[in-house]
């Protein structure tokens, strides 16, 4: 096999191999069953609960859980504004970077709070080390927030009629101490071995071959980067994100980063199967997600490996593929793989410039975020997918001659209402944001890097990335302006919390219903046929509503290329 393709294939397979046992372990963690690591973590958890005064055994309804989730998020937001706006005066600032403006701090904190990390600044000059560390903290807790919300849904999907669904703080702390932190430590050790910097000493002075002296930004990178991937956050330490040699030194670190960002989303799907003792359901979900992922990935890889025809026309050797905006140490195939992986999963870290990809590759990156449920972010991916399952169950349930039910619970008007609102929200935020920006060119035109269709793609990508809580950018967009900061900030907030609350509300409502035992007339949701139905619903609802916008952006770009 072509070595360029071998890399991505290996990364994908390695993720599955690691995610299976991890999923099993996670199911045990969330079921509060003993694991081999109990002896280490029990005292830590107990200590954390003691100082915070939380009783992890207190059962909460879904409403109480969501209230807890929102409350801690508000605290993190206020604290974040405080740190970022005042970082210039606070310790751990050897490079003397100034405090952020209120607009920028708003956008930065929001974007990290919602596990998106749309960065309208460059880490080198925009943040002190304290700021970086606070953002690192957010990367941990927001990932854990998404996972905890997904676990609430796990609990709700059990057969019993339940009014309470466990304790949110318990799921949250367990996600942190037993899953995210230990795995991050292991990844950090690998990164350190590959030469990633880990220092609080500030910029180092370096002499170039020409004899010039340059100041090179460093910092506690090896601590920051693991959770950036593992928590599907994607917020880079440096402006160039994972294309920066300190943030992604070589092909091996690239592979580790890749595996670690897909790890939790994969494991979460398997954990659902182990948790509900319904492995076929996991298999169906994983199958559908993988089908979607591959459908986006293969054309992208082929396009990028084929190279840019315009460059070939100029008589330049294009054998390595379309290399504009890509790092030679990763290559076209692996960068294409990364670009789709980072967009289907809401990581949004980049190791190449998405702006420079071929037009249809850019479209696939956008489609990955528009569907936003092929694997998806830490915990939230499965929540988004859950909405599509509800829609698919409703239509296909009718098609087999029964009023629809999912996992033995009837889907009625209330569930449908919530599911539709959440399904609507995503296209609404993306299209409304893009339309507003296009309608008032005075706000945006000067910030675009390209005119015409590609410029429209830049706007569309920015809102898509914000609404998908992804955080990658069609860079080239000068996005540190009040318009971009505020509009994307609002999109980020709505697109984070409503799609968490919605599925949890549906699940909570289902949990309270009576379980209907399965019969041969019941629609089975763990089959390939149903998987196909879900895939069709995703394609029709998520992809088709963006068809007109994509036509004017990347598709027009492609045909007039």
């Amino acid at each position: 096999m072509n070595t360029a393709i071998l890399g991505p294939v290996l990364m994908f397979l390695a993720t599955i191999v690691l995610a299976l046992p991890l999923g099993k372990y996670m199911a045990k963690v969330y079921r509060n069953e003993p694991t081999f690591l109990n002896r280490v973590f029990n005292p830590i958890d107990r200590f954390l609960f003691k100082i915070s005064g939380v009783d992890p055994g207190r059962e909460q309804s879904w409403q109480q859980q969501m209230l807890a989730l929102l409350t801690i998020n508000v605290v993190w937001f206020l604290l974040g504004m405080l740190v970022l706006m005042n970082q210039g005066r606070l310790p751990l600032n050897p490079d003397h970077n100034p405090g952020q403006s209120a607009y920028l701090a708003f956008n930065t904190v929001i974007s990290f709070l919602v596990n998106c990390n749309l960065q309208h600044y460059s880490g080198e000059s925009g943040l002190s080390y304290l700021g970086q560390l606070y953002l690192m903290f957010l990367q941990f807790v927001t990932a854990a927030t998404g996972m905890a919300a997904a676990v609430t849904v796990f609990y709700a999907l059990q057969k019993d009629t339940l009014s309470t669904l466990g304790n949110f703080y318990n799921f949250f702390v367990r996600s942190l101490t037993r899953i995210l932190i230990p795995i991050s430590v292991i990844i950090a050790l690998i990164f350190l071995a590959r030469g990633m910097p880990m220092t609080f000493a500030g910029k180092s002075r370096m002499q170039t071959l020409q004899g010039d002296t340059v100041q090179v930004s460093t910092g506690p990178v090896a601590a920051f980067v693991p959770i950036k991937h593992l928590g599907t956050n994607g917020g880079g330490f440096f402006g160039a994100n994972s294309a920066h040699p300190f943030e992604n030194p070589d092909y091996l670190s690239n592979m580790v980063a890749m595996v670690s960002q897909m790890l939790i989303p994969f494991a979460m799907i398997f954990a659902l199967g182990y948790f509900l003792k319904n492995r076929k359901l996991s298999l169906m979900i994983f199958g559908v997600m993988t089908a979607g992922f591959i459908a986006l990935l293969i054309p992208t890889m082929l396009q990028e490996m084929k190279g840019n025809p315009h460059i070939a026309q100029m008589g330049i050797d294009n054998a390595l593929g379309a290399m504009e905006g890509k790092e030679v140490r990763f290559g076209a195939a692996s960068s294409a793989f990364w670009s789709i992986a980072t967009t289907v999963i809401s990581t949004g870290s980049v190791n190449a410039m998405h702006d420079s990809f071929m037009p249809l590759s850019g479209m696939n990156q956008m489609l990955a975020m528009m569907t936003n449920c092929f694997y998806g972010g830490c915990g939230v991916g499965i929540l988004n997918f859950f909405i599509f399952m509800i829609l698919a169950v409703f239509i296909s349930g009718l098609m087999v001659g029964r009023t629809p039910e999912f996992m033995g619970k009837k889907i009625e008007a209330r569930e449908m209402k919530i599911a539709m609102i959440i399904a609507l929200l995503h296209p609404f935020l993306i299209l409304a944001g893009t339309a507003l920006s296009a309608a008032f060119p005075a706000l945006t035109l000067s910030t675009l890097n390209n005119p015409g269709a590609h410029g429209l793609s830049e706007i569309l990508y920015e809102y898509t990335s914000a609404a998908a809580n992804n955080g990658s950018g069609f860079e080239g967009l000068g996005d540190n302006t009040p318009w971009w900061n505020i509009s994307t900030g609002v999109v980020l907030l709505l697109a984070r919390f409503l799609p968490i609350i919605g599925p949890v509300a549906i699940a909570g409502s289902l949990a309270a219903k009576k379980y209907i035992p399965e019969s041969s007339g019941t629609l089975k949701t763990d089959t390939g046929t149903f998987g196909l139905m879900v895939l069709a619903v995703i394609a029709l609802v998520a992809a088709l509503s963006f068809f007109p916008a994509l036509t004017l952006g990347p598709i027009a770009d492609y045909f007039s290329f």
Binding site: L391, F394, I395, S396, G397, L398, M399, V400, G401, R402, T403, P404, G408, E412, A413, M416, K417, M420, A423, L424, P427, L431, A432, T434, A435, L436, A438, A439, P441, G452, A453, L456, K514, Y515, I516, P517, S520, G521, T522, L523, K524, T527, T529, F530, L532, M533, A536, L540, V541, L544, S545, F547, P548, A549, T551, L552, I555, A556, F559, S560
Partner: protein, 679 residues
């Protein structure tokens, strides 16, 4: 009434429906259907655009083109209205034919003074009868309205309602005390108390339900409407935001094209047919001679998990029949037969008659002096005859055992063994004694209805558990249950046993349907999710159930379940079809929208449509035409096949999903070929 006489589109029905299609354009009526309501708004906007162009606007294209779009949109609305109107008209025609039986008939009202009914009789028109009034009917009379017999017994011809010509017996007191207005008394005389106020009978309720006056959306219809309204909202967002995006790309779009895109994308097909599907469901039930009290009942029928069926009449033919005489040791078979026949001479029960039938002897050939016949009672559980020096009894084994014990006799072991074998084979043993000594046993057998086993098999494939309810002992019940292929049985059932069984199944989350007629059944009928009362049953039973079967046919439940499933499937498949259509419509309209400004988008014109104008027009025309084309399917319903849920889903996805993607590609292309001749 013959269910097959109303073909799909009768001339007078068409006429009525066409008129209604225009009446229903009223916004207040259309507002009930959010999808079609948005189409109406779009149509209104197009009307303004046309006026605007006539006034002199230049940027919106030609007047003729805009007017054509307006007309096609109007047609879309009319088609959707027509679908609902034709369904209503058909349902109404069906109820009308039932209502004809209710025409004014004179009633012989018995005047009451206080609580006492006097002999005085006045003739009043049936419409003046009030609930609680008592009227008299004699042979030859048409019964003026629904009621309950309070005195007397009569044979009644119910063919006006059931189509069944054999007369039935209705009598006061029992479970067959109800009479229906419009049926005819053939013999005897009955006093009947009016059970419903004029205009409030089940039939009247049903008519109101079909005609839309009191039609409410069923829970599933509401949920589906939410889904469809959601899709409509998505496409409002898509089309509204498209305007600034197109302007930004220097590809200006006209209002007509935006509205055309919107109307094509929203699920108008299912939106236009949704209420027709619901009405047609009730109508199909009515065609099966089942009156439903709400649309929800039909919907619930599709979800039934457990079916409670009475053994007699449903699983077995009527009653038991004698099949064998087994004499005791030392008794001649002839003697046993003679005694059996003598004891059954005046026994009117089907069992008694079948004994004489089996003996094949004319009972009058025996002479017997001063016979005194003893009737069967629930206490003695035996019957027989006493005459000079002879006393013959036949009855249940333990009843006879008590009788013979009075003389110190016992049931001989050979007969006791035979009794057990008969019971074990699903038969009923009748032990015969002569002068308090056992002389033999008669075997009675249940005859299982032909074809019933296959029906249960079909139900099992549908995922429905069948439960037989019988008064038989567990041994007999088990045998018949196995032979007929039911999944479970309730033996020696008392009314509260049915109730408990239903409650237990419901507590485990299953939906239960049952059929009943007696007042005893009323609580269970009310408790069941679908309770079908027989029309011949008591008023209490009919009040408690949510459906009434005019045919009094216990196997009707099976049909009702299939009607419910058909209803839900029709909704699901047409929703899938409607949404799948969007793919082709996108490929027709999107290139047409931008091809002038961005010529390279020509490549997206997969269907090679003639011009942007013809492409948009063809898509809108297809969108309109598909509604009337699917009306027959909406009214007839998608056939249900019990092949298991997954296989059914695969089948329907293939037909309506893949079909829904492909059909419009072909349809739009074909329409475009015609349209391009004119543009």
């Amino acid at each position: 009434m013959n269910p097959n006489t109303t073909t799909l589109f009768q001339k007078d029905l068409l006429h009525k429906a066409l008129k209604q299609s225009f009446v229903k354009l009223h916004p207040r009526t259309l507002f009930r259907n959010p999808i079609m309501f948005t189409v109406e708004i779009g149509t209104a906007i197009m009307l303004f655009v046309c006026a605007w162009i006539a006034w002199g606007a230049k940027a919106q294209g030609s007047l003729s083109y805009n007017c054509t779009i307006f007309l096609v949109l109007l047609l879309t609305l009319l088609f959707a209205n027509f679908a609902e109107a034709i369904a209503e008209a058909r349902g109404k025609a069906q109820t009308d034919s039932l209502r004809k039986t209710r025409e004014e008939t004179p009633a012989r009202l018995i005047r009451a003074i206080g609580e006492v009914y006097m002999g005085e009789i006045t003739i009043v028109p049936s419409s003046q009868l009030k609930k609680g009034d008592v009227f008299l009917c004699e042979a030859g009379d048409i019964i003026p309205t629904d009621g309950e017999i309070i005195e007397g017994l009569a044979t009644i011809d119910e063919s006006a309602i059931t189509g069944e010509s054999a007369p039935v017996i209705r009598e006061s007191g029992g479970d067959k005390s109800s009479v229906t207005g419009g049926t005819k008394v053939l013999s005897d005389k009955i006093k009947v108390r009016v059970s419903t106020e004029a205009g409030e009978s089940f039939l009247d309720k049903m008519i109101a339900l079909v005609e839309g006056a009191s039609r409410q959306k069923t829970p599933n219809e509401i949920a589906l409407t939410i889904l469809l309204a959601g899709f409509t909202l998505v496409f409002i967002i898509v089309t509204v935001t498209l305007k600034p995006l197109a302007d930004y790309s220097n590809a200006p779009v006209t209002i007509a094209t935006l509205i055309a895109l919107f109307v094509c994308l929203i699920p108008t097909t299912i939106g236009g047919l949704l209420s027709a599907i619901g009405i047609a469901g009730m109508d199909r039930a009515l065609r099966a001679n089942v009156i439903t009290k709400s649309g929800k009942a039909v919907e619930t029928a599709g979800d039934i998990d457990v079916l409670l069926l009475d053994k007699t009449g449903t699983i077995t033919i009527g009653n038991r029949k004698a099949t064998h005489f087994y004499p005791a040791a030392g008794i001649e078979e002839k003697h046993l037969i003679k005694c059996a026949v003598l004891s059954s001479m005046s026994d009117d029960t089907p069992e008694g008659k079948s004994i004489i039938e089996l003996a094949n002897i004319d009972p009058l050939s025996y002479t017997i002096d001063n016979p005194r016949f003893i009737k069967f009672t629930a206490e003695t559980r035996s019957s027989g005859v006493d005459a000079e020096g002879i006393s013959i009894r036949k009855g249940a084994a333990d009843a006879i055992k008590n009788i013979v014990a009075q003389e110190g006799n016992i049931i001989p072991p050979d007969i006791a063994g035979r009794v057990k074998t008969i019971a074990g084979n699903g038969g009923t043993p009748l032990v015969v004694s002569e002068n308090k000594a056992v002389i033999g046993v008669i075997e009675l057998q249940d005859i299982i209805k032909p074809g019933i086993k296959e029906r249960f098999e079909r139900l099992r494939k549908m995922g429905i558990k069948t439960v037989m309810v019988t008064g038989d002992n567990p041994l007999t019940a088990k045998f018949i249950a196995e032979k007929a292929g039911v999944d479970d049985f309730i033996a020696e059932a008392r009314p509260e046993d049915k109730m408990n069984y239903i409650r237990r199944e419901q507590s485990e989350g299953r939906l239960v349907a049952m059929m009943g007629d007696g007042t005893n059944d009323a609580p269970a009928l009310a408790q069941a999710d679908v309770g079908v009362a027989m029309n011949s049953g008591t008023q209490a039973a009919k009040e408690a159930g949510n459906m009434v079967d005019l045919d009094n046919d216990p196997t009707k439940l099976i049909e009702v379940v299939e009607i419910g499933k058909q209803l839900l499937m029709t909704r699901g498949t047409l929703t899938t079809f409607s949404i799948a259509n969007d793919v082709a419509k996108y490929f027709a309209i999107i290139p047409a929208l931008f091809i002038t400004a961005i010529p390279s988008l020509r490549a997206l014109n997969l269907m090679r449509l003639h011009s942007p104008g013809s492409a948009i027009l063809s898509a809108v025309i297809f969108n309109a035409l598909i509604i009337p084309l699917l009306i027959p399917l909406a009214l007839k319903g998608v056939p249900y096949k019990p092949i298991g849920a997954s296989a059914l889903l695969r089948r329907n996805l293939f037909i309506y999903g893949l079909g829904g993607i492909l059909v419009p590609f072909i349809g739009i292309k074909a329409i475009d070929l015609i349209v391009s001749l004119f543009i």
